[in-house]
């Protein structure tokens, strides 16, 4: 994917650009608000990573508002040192699609960028989700694996739905907390891991390798293809 990074801190820039490059993405970089707005408006990007506080009188939120007013709907991830819940809400209200607080792990950023670019392509009218022989019917709320029915509690269903909507992508613990439980704070425990392993028990079959994989230092991924990373649990 093609990413625009609007960020004034050199070290953060190097860190993000290098990481994205290694993951096979191309990155344009703007060091101030004016250049950022110019690039965002003139080029086509799959996703924009926007720092909130920028030199040059134009801050991140102003750029986002300007882009949205101009009808540009490129997904935007806001990067900020401001961690207040209110700041997060302000960022999303201005037109941002996701919010990540500095300091952050690169895996978290990459997973969220993946989720944002994938979201744009997703068909909203989809009624079934499929990963290998695991099928989820969103209307009847039934889950089957190899035609064998799987009983899930509502929250487990929501968790699996989120994972399947992002099949083949890494999903971090924070993303799960935010999207499945609506928790915008750090519960400081490994409770998410416990939920995952419980879900894994329910959907896995003895004959096949686990569909729900643990990605080291990042999170989880549901995928029918075997990944190079050793799967956990």
């Amino acid at each position: 994917m093609k990413v625009l990074l609007v960020e004034d801190n050199e070290r953060v820039t190097r860190f993000v650009v290098k990481g994205l490059q290694e993951s096979g993405h191309t990155t344009d970089h703007a060091g101030n608000g004016r250049d950022g707005l110019f690039l965002a408006a003139s080029e086509r990007y799959d996703v924009i990573v926007m720092d909130r506080m920028l030199p040059g009188n134009i801050d991140g939120l102003t750029i986002i508002e300007a882009l949205r007013k101009a009808g540009n709907h490129t997904p935007i991830l806001i990067l900020s040192a401001l961690s207040d819940v209110d700041e997060r809400i302000n960022g999303l209200r201005a037109g941002g699609d996701d919010y990540l607080t500095k300091p952050f792990a690169f895996g978290e950023l990459l997973a969220r960028l993946d989720a944002l670019t994938r979201r744009g392509r997703q068909d909203a009218t989809q009624t079934t989700l499929e990963v290998g022989d695991l099928k989820m019917d969103l209307l009847s709320r039934k889950v089957t694996r190899d035609n064998r029915s799987i009983q899930l509690q509502p929250r487990e269903f929501k968790l699996l739905e989120y994972l399947m909507r992002h099949a083949g992508q890494v999903v971090t613990r924070t993303m799960l907390l935010e999207n499945v439980w609506d928790y915008h704070f750090d519960p400081q425990t490994n409770v998410v891991d416990v939920h995952i392993s419980k879900l894994r028990q329910k959907i896995d079959v003895d004959s096949a390798p686990s569909l729900l994989k643990t990605v080291r230092n990042a999170g989880y991924m549901i995928s029918a293809e075997p990944v190079l990373e050793p799967s956990g649990g």
Partner: protein, 483 residues
């Protein structure tokens, strides 16, 4: 400051005195006018009647006859009571009790008020001047019978002014003295606070006057400031104290790596551990920032209606699998929706922290009871009780302090901010965190909205112990046995 008070007290007194004067004038002026109108008219009428009588005598008996009549009259009456004077055309006195025609009486006939020397004293007298046929002039006057009353009126007025002035002056002195006395204690308190001792409070007497009200409000403000300042001091102390340990660990880890230069595999493992160390530091920072944010009371503006029972149910559901792993039974009771005005994110975090805390300390196969209820006084209680080791009474007040970790908790992961966060959140919602003994274990009770009236929701009516539906009760044994 004292100068300002002095002038303000005096200004107040002067204002009141001037107001008093104005009231006196408003009272006296119409009185004086009424007096003037009534008494003067009456006096002139009398004089004119007298004059008519003398004119009759003149008409019947001529000038000589009138002179005799006047002389007879004058000899009969008390000197000064009545003024009578008859002169010829050139104002030479013919008869009467005045030796000469008084100056100041106008030429034209009519009634006048003129000063006349009587018994060696210049007195204002009402007179009527009449011109008789043949150029004779007749002056009839009457000493002012009402003068003493009038004088008394003026004297009374002067006395009132004097009393008013003295009272005003006295009042000013007293007000100033009282104000200064009150201000003085305030001033001393404020001076002590400025010197850095925030524990001082303004003296408040039992009376409820305006200054007491002000003193009470200021005291509340001082309390808030003291708490904030102490909070900040605590946070800085805690940061210095508790961030030093993980940072020192991180530093030695990196230094060792740089010195020993081990094989790549081990190096990367060490780097991963270093990143985990940093993450832990960041977590502490985030918790501290959140605490500071809550302590500053900034989040209150974003309060919305929150169903606390629903939040608790979600938290229980969230921790259930983890509890099952540990073979811990979580029971949950709620009376239906319990609405509170609050911050959804913070309340959820507080409930989760309580559960997390309980789950951390409760033993294998233990029990955790979660309960949400609305108390009779309208306050909301979220109770998380476990049967773990509990907290010794001596340590209970300390556990909510930042970074405090009891002896029991040494060796368990955590940064020691959980309960202080809960306490701060409860406080933000006009409540408190209460820790009591659960015999055995800890009973943590988070109170919200203390002192607010219960909402007129039907929720109140079914708050009886027997009515609580047990929503989630997991017996974890069966599911964990298989894993």
């Amino acid at each position: 400051m004292a100068r300002v008070i002095r002038s303000s007290a005096v200004t107040l007194a002067i204002g009141y005195v001037l107001f008093g004067f104005a009231a006196l004038v408003l009272f006296a002026a119409p009185l004086r006018y009424a007096w003037q109108a009534t008494v003067e008219d009456f006096r002139v009428e009398l004089l004119q009647e007298d004059t008519q009588r003398f004119v009759q005598v003149f008409k019947l008996r001529g000038p000589e006859g009138l002179s005799d009549f006047i002389r007879e009259r004058v000899s009969m009456q008390i000197a000064g009571e009545r003024i009578l004077l008859l002169t010829d055309a050139s104002l030479h006195p013919l008869a009467g009790n005045l030796r000469a025609w008084p100056q100041g009486v106008p030429r034209k006939p009519g009634s006048y008020s003129v000063p006349i020397e009587l018994a060696g004293q210049l007195t204002r007298v009402s007179v009527v001047r009449t011109t008789l046929p043949g150029g004779y002039n007749l002056l009839v006057g009457r000493d002012d019978r009402f003068a003493p009353i009038e004088r008394r009126f003026w004297e009374g007025l002067a006395a009132a002014v004097a009393v008013l002035s003295v009272a005003g002056l006295l009042g000013a002195i007293l007000i100033r003295k009282a104000l200064l006395a009150r201000i003085h204690s305030t001033q001393q308190t404020v001076a002590a606070i400025m010197r850095g001792d925030l524990s001082h409070r303004l003296p408040v007497r039992s009376g409820g006057d305006e200054l007491e009200l002000l003193a009470r409000t200021i005291n509340r403000m001082l309390e808030q400031i003291e708490q904030l300042v102490h909070g900040v001091a605590n946070v800085s102390n805690s940061i210095a104290h508790d961030l030093r340990t993980p940072l020192a660990e991180l530093r030695s880890r990196l230094e060792e790596l740089s010195l020993t230069r081990p094989a790549p595999a081990e190096t990367f493992q060490e780097i991963d551990s270093a990143v985990a160390d940093v993450d832990n530091v960041i977590r502490i920072f985030n918790a501290l920032l959140r605490l500071a944010e809550i302590d500053a009371g900034m989040r209150r503006s974003g309060f919305v209606e929150v169903d606390v029972a629903d939040l608790a149910a979600k938290a229980v559901e969230f921790y259930l699998p983890a509890a099952e792993l540990k073979n811990v039974n979580i029971s949950f009771r709620e009376p239906g929706a319990v609405l509170a005005r609050g911050d959804r994110v913070l309340l959820a975090q507080a409930v989760n922290n309580l559960l997390d805390n309980a789950l951390k300390y409760v033993g294998e196969g233990g029990k955790i009871a979660v309960e949400v209820l609305r108390q009779a006084d309208g306050a909301i209680a979220i109770i998380v009780a476990d049967d773990g080791p509990g907290i010794p009474d001596a340590e209970k007040p300390k556990v909510a302090q930042r970074f405090y970790r009891g002896d029991v908790s040494r060796g368990t992961p955590g940064v020691g901010l959980g309960l202080s966060l809960v306490q701060a959140i409860a406080k933000l919602h006009d409540g408190a965190l209460e820790l009591t003994d659960n015999h055995p274990g800890l009973r943590a009770q988070m109170i919200l909205q203390r002192g607010t009236l219960p909402e007129p929701a039907p929720v109140e009516s079914n708050v009886t112990a027997a009515d609580y539906p047990v929503i989630i009760s997991s017996s974890a044994r069966a599911s964990t046995a298989s894993s």
